[in-house]
């Protein structure tokens, strides 16, 4: 199950979706929004996606996992829109016969999502806002 949604995510059915009687290990990652960022209080967040490409990239990442590891069961849910503090923005659930692969693959998926999937996060503070990761684009910023 791979989905991009603007509704609150319930991780329970996502974890359940990867369980089966040949799997001895299930690893579920939740990405949750934090109260503070770089010492400042975050009021809320906005996530934006290039949805069709993001879905395609998520499916590619799931395929990478089933290619690289003896794993059949990968579920990824990403939330977009306005999120409050402590909301779940991302759920990745992976199950495998043995635990090592489930841990590795779950960490890998989360990393790949942050690298390649066109979903952006804006943190809104009392005195401003910031698209996370776009520091290189700040006016007057040095090029990387």
């Amino acid at each position: 199950m791979i989905e991009i949604t603007n509704k609150a995510i319930d991780p329970q059915p996502i974890t359940a979706s990867v369980r089966r009687d040949s799997n001895g290990a299930v690893v579920t990652f939740l990405g949750t929004t934090r109260r503070t960022s770089m010492g400042k209080t975050v009021l809320y967040l906005e996530y934006e996606a290039y949805a069709p490409m993001a879905l395609k990239k998520l499916r590619e990442i799931a395929d990478e996992v089933t290619d690289k590891w003896p794993i059949q069961d990968v579920s990824i849910y990403h939330r977009i829109g306005r999120l409050e503090i402590e909301d779940i923005s991302l759920v990745v659930a992976i199950a495998s016969p043995h635990r090592r692969e489930a841990f590795q693959a779950c960490g890998y998926v989360v990393d790949r999502i942050k690298e390649t999937v066109p979903i952006w996060k804006k943190e809104v503070f009392e005195d401003g806002q910031m698209w996370v990761g776009c520091q290189s684009h700040a006016v007057g910023a040095p090029a990387d």
Binding site: G31, E48, A49, Y50, P52, M53, K56, K68, W69, R100, E101, Q104, G107, Y108, D111, R112, K114, E115, T116, V117, P118, I119, W120, K121, K122, W131, V132, G133, C134, S136, H137, A138, V139, G140, A141, A143, D144
Partner: protein
Amino acid sequence: MRVTVRFFALYRERVGASERSWELPEPATLADLLEEIRNAYPGLAPPDVEIVAAVNEEYAEASLALREGDEVALIPPVSGGGIGFADEILHSASLRSE
């Protein structure tokens, strides 16, 4: 030819629109289009910062030849968040499977 240009996140805010139809002389590469866009919106990105783009939902090289009807999306840096360790995981996985 005519292509659709989509702007997301920081770029959407800086352009003030999420999508624009763009007329280009043929032949044109992605680099040509990006140069036109930078000229039209000088505040989009600092001059020495690369603008990453996708054509028809796939990351594309600047040398790619554009075609009528292409959907070009400008992709600001994605959210990142912490130090990645995908490479390390893969390295460790491949060591194990030897």
